[in-house]
Symmetry: C2
Subunit: 628 residues, 2 copies
């Protein structure tokens, strides 16, 4: 964390100084906006939290509910989400608070007495060690509260506007604020009143029954038939030995429970399978009484019993596997001629079962993908074409998710005798762990994602996949730090320069690259101010040397990695690193000893891997996304 660079500020350094919009934030919704977000779910909140970091962007979030979500809905937090929280500054607090999944138990009918379940296997949750972050369970309401805190503590002091419902919108490209949105107050003294606000962009994070999806004419693909689960968050007394372990439980009569311990040491969630919902059910399944669901759970758990003492939250959750044909307002045939103005995110564009615990995770990655793109376009940093890449990138991810979820759900629903091998279910769980953990996302080549031509220079940093952290030593004070954890959700591009063999201060390709980055007119870091920042402040350029940190001097690193900043023109000390001799990032991430440049997007995805002397390729890449 960096702070006090403009003088000591008392209090929590996480709270940023108000700036721009935040100096004079109006309680009332302004009539003209840069971005209007509809829906206070995980998708809407992360988008808002990201946009709130830019003092120059006037973004608001409206939500129909009269107040914040207090309890319920999803609770699975994949490691990729925790990695994302790190960028927003609250990962460690969620880690302290959450339940950590490290194991999963599989319970099946016993072989001697199939009417009683037995513990058939215990699998490690992250056998493949895909991340340094844990897999957590924390209530969705809490995650949204954390994002709410990020917003309030951001320079723009953003807070959601509750009790306001989206009704419809119209787009007129001839206007400065092309999207006219009709809203209605649904809480408070003026309840019922309609109002119109004009915005540059509309973000539809309005959930599975999205009105914005309908209004932009997107249609849902996939089968209509939904699957239903009785979801019970409860406090209970039980003799079931694995009450604090995540369990897949299958009984002899075809029943199944997905059992998930929750944060705090007592609360747990049971997903009791209620089966496929008939086409003509008309949501009748939602009327299933909780007592019936708990009785069913007891049947499945036999010979164990669960005495539910208190229900904290419950729901009959009914959902189909569906994805919309596009995630913005531009139909395929118009994509060449106009850029999007409205977007849909999260459940508004993809729904799937809760079994793989993806609910809020994928929705947040939608918002993380869109947020910085909107900021760059609004601030004039990037061309409007950037916005198209949102649908291009996220729709494929959604489709993969639905496919994975279908396989996983049907495996969990299958009877033991349907499997080829007795360990098929747990083997699949372990083998595919990278997918539900959120790390299989691999974006295709586009204007924000390069090719894999030079992938051999850094085999651990696949172009299109997220930048995986590793430990390095910071030269300035010799501290071991996680390189990836230094990246904040600040909308900046990151340029990681992994040095070739010579040390800092020696003639080398790294020294040449540093010189070029700092001084060449073609360098992306050189040029006039852009979007309210010095141009070079849109970049976070770091260098990692192969030598031990005491074998070279900080001040010998090229000036590009020690830029001057802040009110007092101080030198940045914290961008020069050394490979930690104990962990060696070069070995861990397959980086060539001849060095490599790894370019990482503001949403943490690797955009380029290049040789150290590929100055012109580097220039060409940024000339598209950040033209001079």
């Amino acid at each position: 964390m960096q702070f006090h660079e403009d003088g000591y500020v008392t209090g929590d350094p996480i709270i940023k100084r108000p700036a721009g919009i935040g100096l004079n934030r109006t309680a009332e919704l302004p009539v003209e906006l840069d971005v209007l977000i509809v829906g206070e779910g995980p998708a809407g909140m992360i988008t808002a939290a990201q946009l709130s970091q830019f003092p120059g962007i006037n973004a608001r979030l409206v939500e129909r509910r009269p107040e914040e979500l207090l309890v319920g809905q999803a609770d699975g937090i994949q490691a990729r989400s925790v990695e994302t929280f790190q960028a927003f500054g609250f990962a460690n607090r969620v880690i302290d608070e959450g339940y950590h999944i490290t194991e999963m138990s599989f319970w099946k009918p016993g072989t001697t007495n199939p009417s009683e379940i037995v513990r058939a296997a215990v699998a490690k949750d992250d056998e493949l060690n895909v991340s340094e972050f844990p897999h957590l369970i924390v209530n969705q309401a809490r995650i949204m509260q954390y994002f709410g805190e990020v917003m309030r503590q951001s320079p723009t002091r953003m807070v959601p506007d509750y009790g306001i419902e989206y009704l419809s919108h119209q787009i007129d490209e001839s206007e400065e604020y092309p999207v006219a949105v009709t809203l209605r107050r649904v809480a408070g003294p003026q309840s019922g009143e309609e109002l119109v606000v004009r915005t540059k962009y509309l973000v539809g994070a309005d959930g599975a029954r999205s009105q914005i999806r309908r209004d932009i004419g997107a249609t849902r693909q996939g089968k209509q038939a939904a699957h239903a689960w009785g979801v019970v968050d409860s406090l209970a007394v039980t003799d079931f030995p694995d009450w604090r372990v995540k369990c897949a439980i299958q009984s002899n009569d075809g029943g199944s429970i997905l059992h998930i311990p929750r944060e705090g040491g007592q609360l747990t969630r049971m997903y009791v399978d209620l089966g496929e919902v008939a086409e003509d059910d008309n949501h009748a399944v939602r009327e299933t009484p909780m007592s019936q669901i708990i009785a069913r759970a007891n049947q499945i758990l036999h010979p164990y019993t669960v005495d539910v003492k208190h229900i904290a939250w419950s729901s009959v959750y009914e959902v189909g596997h569906r994805v919309t044909d596009r995630f913005d307002d531009v139909p395929a045939q118009e994509r060449a001629v106009r850029q999007p103005r409205a977007f849909i995110l999260g459940d508004a564009c993809h729904t799937h079962s809760a079994k793989a615990g993806q609910g809020m995770n994928v929705s947040m990655q939608d918002g993380f993908n869109l947020g910085w793109k909107l900021a760059h376009v609004l601030l004039g940093v990037a061309p409007t074409e950037l916005l198209r890449t949102y649908t291009d990138e996220r729709q494929e991810i959604a489709q993969n998710l639905i496919d994975f979820d279908k396989t996983w759900s049907s495996m969990m629903a299958a009877k033991p005798e349907d499997f080829d091998s007795p360990t098929e279910l747990e083997d699949f769980y372990v083998r595919t762990a990278e997918f539900p953990a959120g790390f299989m996302t691999e974006y295709k080549t586009s204007l924000v994602c390069g090719t894999q031509d030079h992938q051999d220079l850094a085999t651990g940093y696949t172009v299109g996949k997220r930048f995986r952290s590793a430990q390095v030593v910071r030269r300035a004070e010799g501290n071991p730090v996680q390189l990836g954890h230094l990246a904040q959700a600040d909308g900046r591009w990151r340029i990681y320069v992994f040095a070739d063999a010579p040390a800092a201060g020696q003639p080398s390709k790294t020294t040449d690259l540093g010189e070029w980055l700092a001084n060449d007119p073609a360098s992306p870091l050189v040029g006039a101010d852009l979007g309210g920042r010095r141009r070079r402040e849109w970049f976070d350029a770091k260098v990692i040397y192969q030598q031990n940190h005491l074998d070279f001097e900080l001040l010998d690193a090229p000036a590009a990695f020690r830029p001057v900043y802040g009110a007092f023109d101080l030198m940045q000390y914290e961008n020069v690193f050394s490979a930690d001799p104990e962990t060696d990032i070069y070995a861990e991430r397959g980086i060539s000893r001849d060095g490599a440049v790894v370019v990482v997007r503001p949403d943490q995805y690797v955009a380029q891997v290049l040789p150290l002397d590929a100055h012109s390729e580097l220039a060409a890449f940024f000339e598209v996304v950040m033209p001079h």
Copy 2:
């Protein structure tokens, strides 16, 4: 962290539900109090934070200043303090926020050109690996803000009362509230007004010039002559290569600087030695202009220069090595006949140089030692004799500190030619690291500290020293956890039962002990309610088995380690552990394979090491501090 056990509570689970005093906290100072603390420094704040955890205790803290401390004073946080913060729930946030000291550089006059300093050595700060917690630098003001947050979020919703000055007190043991304290408002509309409050106990955390010290007739031992340093917290531009490293810098002309990088990546502190203060100086040294101190720093740093751009805080800090003859109001000759009513803590009873970075650390340990003792006596859990142990335990620690500090300060002040060996200074630093880290404290045998008769059963848990954490696996869900980090500052005794060889459920001494603890009338856990809690809730009894966690069942552990608690009579799941096969706490802490009981005090000090079958010794120990 455990929460939601009485139903889901939305929001940050760190915020406890209001209870007792906190349900109806008055803005105005009540006329009758259980404890009155004077002084919002580290000593006063930790005492207040500890007492605020007990709904039944009415404690207030008065401070002369009109508002909280905003900046300045001490900044070194030893690992023992971070361990203490863990118990108060904010260690990880301070760790994220602070500067981490991992190395120290030693700069000396060059051998070829002694007028220029050169880097002579770099030493690891914690070569001996004395703690899993780091050594940090964070402003004292921030630490007090963290404790302030703990107080506000406690059941009693405590906040300091600012703008109130202590004047004097009188003790009359015949009264229910024996201490009558005269205060004066020194801020706000009623400024100047005097008021009298009556309290059961008075805590003098009123700093080096303590009035309470004088009022209880304690006297300071040690030499009068003080040493002075110019302390400058600044933002600067420099070519000194180790600006972000803790440095001891000695120049040829006898000058010396202790240089300390600060939190946030830019701020640093220089202690520029101004030498011994003459007896007749009359604080004239405090008038030394900052420009002169900075000029002196530049002289010492030659050939490097420091261009100070901004001074965040500065002070001429003048201090002698002194400790008072006692830390409470009872003179030696009266100790047999009466118990203390007034205490002094922190700088009020010991002062020393800033060189070893002990300022706020030792003061906090004073408060942590006193806080739970006051609570136990006030709630009728322990006899009043307990309070005497405060002076007994802490005065010796203060004396050790002064002795250590004298040695270290004179070594740092010595000229290079005074040393026997060129590496004497850095060798001493590394060799004695456990002392300034706060881990050399070893309390003597008393009613709260047993003997070392059975020390061989757990050689890593020295009776009288702090309980050092180690990694174990929690049986309930298979998570690796730091055993020591589960201990909160909740005033409870901890009983760690390290099992003998048989697994849970087998006949063993552990099984017998569990049975005895839960059911025997002599067991400290058995008996009538005490101080507003079930008697067994004054204990946190945990068991650690030698088997891997999947080789026994949670439900086979004795019921003493799975107590029923909370509004719904739920079972506690989180007190049964297994030695982590990778780290093996038995090997790491020298625990006998025949098992051992380790009793730990509410302030984390080991009070007893006993064999598993020493039921009567265990009963006897607690019969004194928690009589039936």
